[in-house]
Symmetry: C2
Subunit: 299 residues, 2 copies
Amino acid sequence: MPDVYLCGTGGMKPLPDRALTGLWTEHKGTALLIDCGEGMQISLARMGRSLAKLELLLITHFHADHVAGLPGLLLSAGNYGKTSPLTICAPRGGKRIIENICCICGAIPFDINIHELDPEGERFSFDDLEIAAFPLRHRIECFGYSITEHRLPVFVPEKADALGVPLNMRGILHHGGSVEINGRKITPDMVTAQKRPPLKITYITDTVYFEKLAYHAADSDLLVCEGMYGSDEFIPQMREKGHMVFSQSARVARDSHSKELWLTHYSPALRDPFEYESQVKSLFPAAVIGRDGMYKNIK
Amino acid sequence: MPDVYLCGTGGMKPLPDRALTGLWTEHKGTALLIDCGEGMQISLARMGRSLAKLELLLITHFHADHVAGLPGLLLSAGNYGKTSPLTICAPRGGKRIIENICCICGAIPFDINIHELDPEGERFSFDDLEIAAFPLRHRIECFGYSITEHRLPVFVPEKADALGVPLNMRGILHHGGSVEINGRKITPDMVTAQKRPPLKITYITDTVYFEKLAYHAADSDLLVCEGMYGSDEFIPQMREKGHMVFSQSARVARDSHSKELWLTHYSPALRDPFEYESQVKSLFPAAVIGRDGMYKNIK
């Protein structure tokens, strides 16, 4: 059941009252961060998150507002006592760019493994989470990410008791294996209740709108999606700059059958995104105007 | 008469309630900034300063807490409408390092001229200010800076009237030239009042204490000086890490005959620098515990 924190809601540049967009996810004691713009370590400190837990950093793309906070984050993670390795997934060129921007860091007391993503997208595991990186359409190579937790079905101890399953065999059954007791084969379905659907979080920024976004975000429990402006009048300008407006984000949420949408990555010129709240809710009722430091336990 | 703004008071890393140290100076419509740690553009926005005015950036050294905000600052200055060139003075290696950390910037719409300083120190002019860069003693090459305004003496129109000096000759006299009127030589001292001493601001961070600091800061109207900790018990540890404590900063202020001392660049572990206020004032009465966003018009 991942805990999700919206680190900030700004795009382009950090403002005194609006940090840059990023998503911090904690799951079973380890943390995963998407993007690291200038001031990310301030946002994390404000939310009381410990950098020592960070094990995976997913970078959407190499524009400064998504990555300029990396040198400070790495240094502070070291000062925080982090010694375990950090994996960074990023678009092509990532090794060189990260090496360049971190030339002001000196020695970092933990290993950093940088993985450059296939431009077509990739799927990989992180602990028991499944991560999907999928290509977005921005001015430079850019990825969206989905984080999926495939959950075990609910185990029913009463059923196991009735079948005489000893304690040391219950884990095998819960994780999908079968066992034999007194010559009788016991299968997982005999000791579990209903299957549970996976939990999925999808993060989409920066990109123009395109239909396949809904495919990537399909059935998300939480879709965190960019919207630079609230008004549709900005659609042509945003298409040119590689971004979306709220109604397009709502369309992705609706077409993907997502349960909830958090809007984020507002233009500095959009002073009050709440002005457009009722409008976006009329398109997708479970839309939420993102606020810095917003938290949710996904379950 | 420069206006001086203390952008932040932190060292090592930005905190939610304490930005990183830097000094913004405005003088006759143009601005000069010393250092640019992560979040500098947030501090400047908070203080209402316009990045379009920035013409000179002085970098003390290339540790991340003094320079990691540069990519964001340059991008935002461009978005702010800055088109005039920016000069950056920095320690040796500056061209390569700045090029590296700014590889995430894309195109900047103004020229950037990077000047690598002589390790022995340098003096140069910026508009009608005189800038001195002098070597500090830190873990890597590092410079302190003094900014001096040499002021003209006060012009006395009544004296000029009595001598029959026409308006178009008064500027020449005020700026130190002589003129001849009806065969009589008029010299500057005949139309001016007392000479005015120069105005001087000195900025010192990061460094261990050494005696010559007082020489560089001599007769400053304002000395902005690092102090990582308030207590003398940290002197050995700070000597090792290349820093000072408050009492050493006070000693520099006293020995340099500075008029006022602003302490800054506190360790994140120093939660309340005001605890040491009376102690440092007993050593140097004009000591001020620096606060983020502090402002002074130097005159």
